[in-house]
Each structure stands twice: as structure tokens, then as C-alpha cells.
Symmetry: C2
């Protein structure tokens, strides 16, 4: 997080990012973000209308920095349905830990803040698209043992952020174990075999 030669806006985004990541689910205070960015609290409001919009901007910033689109390109290129499922799980499953802190905060805020909910839902709808595409590819191959719509819902749920949090944070699973078990579970659930 080099803070030289950055616009004030970017320094604010980086400060918020760091704070959210260091305390997932807890909405950092505007004054703390300002202090971390080396800026007055009021300056935050010069760049973002309110705290929620600032946090939403951080998620967009993350997506831009990480290049989500490239990330999912491999998944789209896969030949068979099974390969596509595998690629999608790999891409998304390894993306979660990078965005977890900010995402969790937005998820918690969604409960009480409609703007946060809207941004969160859009993000999750995008993710669901990826699930639907993988499921459709499986169906095309005749590998799907259940209804396509329900299969998408199931995959969407198995790959959800709360599921990742439960297994890695609560159960203490290392990321590799999460990946292998989630992959096994998804294959079993959708195709009836691992």
C-alpha cells in the first residue's frame, strides 16, 4: 500500500480497504479511515457521499485491481462441463479470501442499508451467472443429475461467502482443504459422483 503519488481519493480507498480487511464485518468509522488516509474526516465527504458509498467504491476498486474479468476468462474457455465447473470453482474459490474483509462488511451492512444491499446483490448476481454457466455446460454434457435451476441455486450456495467463512474461519480449514472438499461436494451434488 504505497501511499505516495496517489490521489487523495485513492489514498482514502486504500485506507478503507486496509481497515475493512483487518476487521471483516465491522464497518470502520469515518474518523478512523480519515486518520489512516492522513486526511481530515470531512475530506472523505468531498469524495464520497457517505460511508456506504465509500465501501461500495472499495469493492469496485478491488475488482479493478484484481481484474475479476480476466480471472473468469479461463472458466469461460473450458471445453467440457466438468472442466468448466472445475475452473469456475478454482477461480472464485481463490478470489474469496482476497475480498473477504470488505465483502463481509458489505454483507453485514446489507441487512440495514438498502444501498449496500443493492451493491451486494448485484455482485452476487454476477457470481450466480458464473454458476449458471457452469451448470448449463454440465447439462449440455448430460452430466447433471438434477434440475438446472436448482443445481445453480445449490452451487451458488455451496460457493457462497458465508460457506467459505464457516469452513475456513469457524472450522479452521486451510484454503486447500476448503477447495478440495467444496469441489468434491459440488461434483457430488450436481453430477452424483466425485
Amino acid at each position: 500500500m504505497s501511499s505516495e503519488n496517489l490521489t487523495t481519493r485513492d489514498r482514502i480507498l486504500n485506507a478503507a480497504w486496509t481497515l475493512l480487511e483487518s476487521n471483516p464485518g465491522v464497518a470502520a468509522r469515518m474518523s478512523d479511515i480519515a486518520k489512516a488516509a492522513g486526511v481530515s474526516r470531512q475530506a472523505l465527504y468531498l469524495h464520497f457521499p457517505n460511508r456506504t458509498e465509500l465501501f461500495i467504491a472499495v469493492t469496485r476498486h478491488q475488482d479493478a485491481v484484481f481484474g475479476v474479468q480476466n480471472m473468469l476468462a479461463e472458466s469461460r474457455a473450458a471445453e467440457t462441463g466438468e472442466a468448466r465447473l472445475q475452473a469456475f470453482i478454482t477461480a472464485w474459490g481463490n478470489y474469496i479470501p482476497r475480498i473477504f474483509g470488505v465483502a463481509k462488511t458489505l454483507l453485514v451492512m446489507s441487512e440495514t442499508d438498502t444501498d449496500a444491499a443493492k451493491a451486494w446483490n448485484e455482485r452476487m448476481a454476477d457470481m450466480r451467472e458464473g454458476c449458471a454457466a457452469a451448470v448449463a455446460a454440465l447439462a449440455r454434457d448430460g452430466a447433471l443429475v438434477m434440475d438446472e435451476r436448482e443445481a445453480t441455486d445449490l452451487l451458488w450456495t455451496v460457493l457462497s461467502i458465508p460457506t467459505w467463512e464457516h469452513l475456513t474461519r469457524l472450522c479452521g480449514w486451510p484454503q486447500e482443504l476448503y477447495m478440495s472438499e467444496i469441489t468434491r461436494l459440488a461434483r457430488l451434488g450436481l453430477c452424483g459422483r466425485a
Copy 2:
């Protein structure tokens, strides 16, 4: 929710229960609870030290009213591991919708409130006991295709409240579909066959 002939404490608990259930995840305001209970806001502090403790008391109240213990008795009585798993999933899976509103609120508060987190974790630890017992019964029967500890974690996650919320609230699955698919997924994941 008959409100006659009840102690003030119980009227407060019922009012909080109703409010939390009607808006899951949103911590009702003390003034709203007081109004709903037909009592002054300050009266709440005569019976509960603070809002968190009030909400925790509501969950205990729910457990008492519903009789969780009886609920799990059938599960404990089952002969085979498969029967035990089935009974546990049935009992817990059908318990979730009854407690969801309050539980969700406590879960959200857990993020920022250590007392709420403590109460929530204890509750979830109890639930995990049930998972562990079912898994142990499966292992005794030689029906388990994976490590016992990991199997417990997996079942615990599949049966978690966020998973229920995702499938029934976000995906719109009716409770019956949730029950059948979760049962299938658990059997597949733990035993390798449905």
C-alpha cells in the same frame, strides 16, 4: 402472543421476539420494543442490563418455549447412523425457520458485540454436538467416507443458518425442497451415496 396475565419481563420478551422475527437481522430499537410491550423504555433496563442481553434472553426464551431438548431426543434414540443423521437433519432443519429472525439478529450483532458473539457461539457449539454425534454414529456403522472431524465440520456448515437463509430466502426454495436437497447433499458428502 396473548399479553394478559404475563409478567412485564415476559411481555418484553414477547415484544422483542415479535419485532426481531418480523425483521430478521435488524436489531430493533429499545424504544420500539418498549412501545410494543406497552411499557416505558426505561422499564426494559429494569429487567435487562442492555439490548444485547435482552436479545440473548429472547433466544433462551425461545429454546424453553419450543423445548429444543425434546426435539433432539428422537435423533439420539435412532438405531443406525443413517437414521440418526436423518432424524437430526429433520429436527434441526425444521427448527431453523422458527428461530431464524432472532438468530439472524444475534448473528449480525456477533460481528461487533462480544457478548452476542459468545451467546451465538455457544448455541452453534451445541448444534455442532448434534452433528458430531450423527457423524460418530455413521462412523460406527462404517458408513462414513471421510475423516470424522472434517465430516462434522461439513455437516455443521451444510446445516448452518446462513445456508438455510441462502436457499430459502435468496433462492426462494420452499422448506420441503430445502429439507430434501440438504438431506441428499449431506448423505452424498458424508457417505458418498444418497
